[in-house]
């Protein structure tokens, strides 16, 4: 369903060129829960950003459902991210002046879902992550774990094809992290495709497949 072929990403700073991804071939099937691991600087987050269309690779191909994303216009990529992808970031990435409910409903409204349906769906997603009592709280009035759950609710409310998560537990305490991973497991059980970057082994073992990156290359693929 999502495939990368010889994916290369190079950063240039003046005359200095840094090759972060050095030709990655990767494939994830529908409904899989894949974890990408690696030490700092191995290129795991960069790899996730390329796959999730947040960044443009230097060369290589990304094919999602048979479509080469290189052929998509900027506008099509935005629409694709809106409708087909869900994102969970390490620092939650919530809009501070919006309540939990408003943060979740915003992408739905952008998809032109009618107000009534959008709010009902957003409430459903927040309830699913255990935040039915926090609809009207702004992020600053929520704990880190609750903010990350709002972020997950925002990512899954529109039922995306792929859920991308970049170190979702890195800023959380152990208990909150377990709660977040439990939600991911539940989503996976329901058939959600998840690609998650993490450096924590205890959560990685819950995935179906673990990809290890080192120096911009896949060094191992472990099936759990």
């Amino acid at each position: 369903m999502i495939e990368t072929r010889n994916l290369v990403k190079t950063f240039r700073d003046g005359d200095v060129e840094t090759k972060v991804l050095k030709g990655i071939d990767f494939r994830a099937e529908n409904g899989q829960f894949i974890v990408i691991m690696g030490r700092s600087g191995s290129g795991k987050s960069t790899f996730l950003y390329q796959m999730s269309l947040l960044d443009e690779p230097t060369s290589g191909q990304i094919i999602i459902d048979g479509r080469n994303t290189h052929d998509m216009s900027a506008e099509e990529k935005i629409l694709f991210r809106l409708t087909q992808c869900g994102y969970v970031f390490q620092d939650y990435a919530l809009l501070p002046e919006l309540t939990a409910l408003e943060n979740v409903v915003l992408p739905l409204l952008m998809q032109n879902v009618k107000n009534k349906n959008a709010y009902a769906t957003a409430k459903e997603a927040l309830t699913k992550v255990g935040l039915s009592h926090r609809f009207n709280n702004v992020p600053s009035h929520l704990s880190g774990g609750e903010q990350q759950r709002v972020s997950i609710a925002r990512a899954i409310a529109h039922k995306p094809k792929i859920l991308f998560a970049d170190e979702p537990t890195a800023n959380l305490d152990n208990e909150s992290s377990k709660a977040i991973i439990a939600i991911f497991k539940e989503l996976h059980k329901e058939g959600q495709t998840i690609i998650m970057v993490t450096h924590e082994d205890q959560y990685a073992i819950m995935a179906e497949k673990i990809i290890k990156l080192d120096d911009g290359k896949i060094v191992s693929e472990i099936k759990n």
Binding site: D55, A93, L109
Partner: protein, 419 residues
């Protein structure tokens, strides 16, 4: 295409509303305050400059010309067949009342009794104006301009009202071409000479007005004036007419012309009768006001630009997140445009209240005392609305540019805070 724009406006509104709701009260107040000041600068500066002249025009209109002025033709110094013209005026319904005046230039002399043989006479030139005191006061409120002494009564023979510009104690100007009377006050005797005929009169009152023709005139009752200036035929020099409320002076002027008055007299509305220099000053001041206002507009635009730029740059990460989760860049730009519009609109609305509910009535009640006019604040609704539109438009552009600059930045760089 239209649906997409509509959706982006909806999302832009959603974001703008929440951003304003979440912003600091004091920051919002400060921005709105700048907008109010800009609006006032736009409206009040040019309004006062124009109002200064409008005040002068209003004074001419109310204190001298009335709504319509009938005066002598260039070739004559009187209006021929004045009495038949006056009979005609009585038949026109739209005319409320009028005042007919005799008018001729003369010389006033003050020190003729005390002057030694080789001493220079203290003389001043003035327009001698003969009036029916009741009719003139009803039309121009002349009695309200008495600053010393009292107004003329119908039988006040050998009594005069003198304009304060003719008296040295009020206008201490020592110019070779312009002389004033020294040591003349209420009760003083002065000598008037017109066409070689001389009369001694007593000053009954002193007039102070912002209209030069009043301030430099010498008023006496018409029955005496006509003898002095040699107009026993009762042909007046001017007839100032007050129309009933709401009547268009141009319409009555047309009617008078149709009746053939123009054969014997010049017919002008109060606008026609305005001195040309006033008309020239109005356009010059309006231009000057617009120039000064434009500077205010540029300052407001720069303020909004900086406010939105700082706002957008400090929120760059969130703009990146919005784009990252698929929110259209145009919707984000619209949210900033709507915020700019909100500030400009709120500033303008408060400014409108200040102008129309406070400043305009205040200036009407307490006009600015300029030497040649009572300055008021002129703020015609149409022009004010254009200025509101101008302010909103300039802030929209000033808000859009920085928003666009930040929205165009790479999404991932914005999310990660990379340059």
């Amino acid at each position: 295409m239209l649906d997409k724009l509509q959706l982006n406006i909806k999302i832009g509104f959603f974001l703008a509303y929440r951003q304003i709701r979440g912003s600091s009260f004091w920051t919002t107040s400060l921005i709105v305050f700048v907008m109010i000041l800009t609006f006032l600068n736009l409206v009040v500066v040019s309004g006062i400059l124009v109002g200064l002249i409008e005040g002068s025009i209003a004074a001419w209109h109310n204190q001298y010309t009335g709504d319509i002025m009938i005066s002598n033709l260039e070739s004559k110094d009187y209006i021929e067949n004045s009495l038949s013209i006056i009979s005609l005026l009585h038949t026109i319904d739209d005319i409320q009342y009028f005042s007919a005046r005799f008018n001729k230039g003369g010389t006033l002399e003050a020190n003729y009794k005390t002057k030694k043989e080789n001493e220079k006479p203290n003389i001043a030139s003035a327009q001698i104006i003969g009036i029916d005191p009741f009719a003139e006061d009803r039309l121009t409120g002349l009695s309200s301009h008495i600053v010393e002494g009292s107004y003329l009564a119908p039988g006040d023979y050998d009594k005069v009202l003198i304009g304060y510009f003719l008296l040295k104690q009020y206008l201490p100007v020592d110019s070779p071409g312009f002389t004033t009377l020294n040591n003349v006050g209420v009760g003083s005797n002065i000598r008037i000479t017109v066409n070689g005929i001389t009369r001694e009169v007593t000053v009954k009152g002193i007039l102070k007005s912002k209209v030069d023709n009043v301030s430099m005139g010498l008023y006496m009752i018409d029955s005496q004036a006509k003898g002095l200036i040699g107009r026993q035929d009762n042909n007046f020099s001017q007839i100032a007419i007050k129309l009933k409320d709401g009547v268009d002076p141009a319409k009555v002027k047309k009617e008078l012309l149709l009746r053939g008055i123009d054969k014997n007299a010049k017919v002008q509305t109060y606008v026609d009768a305005q001195p040309k220099f006033l008309k020239d000053i109005i356009s010059t001041f309006a231009m000057l006001g617009n120039g000064l206002s434009s500077i205010g507009l540029v300052v407001a635009s720069i303020t909004i630009f900086i406010v939105i730029f700082i706002n957008a740059i400090t929120r760059r990460k969130f703009i990146g997140i919005l784009k990252g989760i698929g929110i259209n860049g145009q919707a984000i730009e619209i949210s900033y445009i709507l915020q700019s519009m909100f500030y400009a609109f709120l500033g303008s609305v408060i400014g409108l209240f200040i102008v129309y509910l406070i400043l305009v009535p205040l200036f009407l009640a307490y006009p600015i005392n300029f030497p040649f006019s009572d300055g008021i604040l002129v703020a015609p609704a149409g022009e004010t609305l254009i200025r509101v539109a101008l302010l909103v438009l300039s802030t929209v552009i000033a808000g859009y540019i920085p928003a666009r600059m930040i929205v165009r930045k790479n999404t991932l760089d914005s999310i990660l805070g990379r340059n």
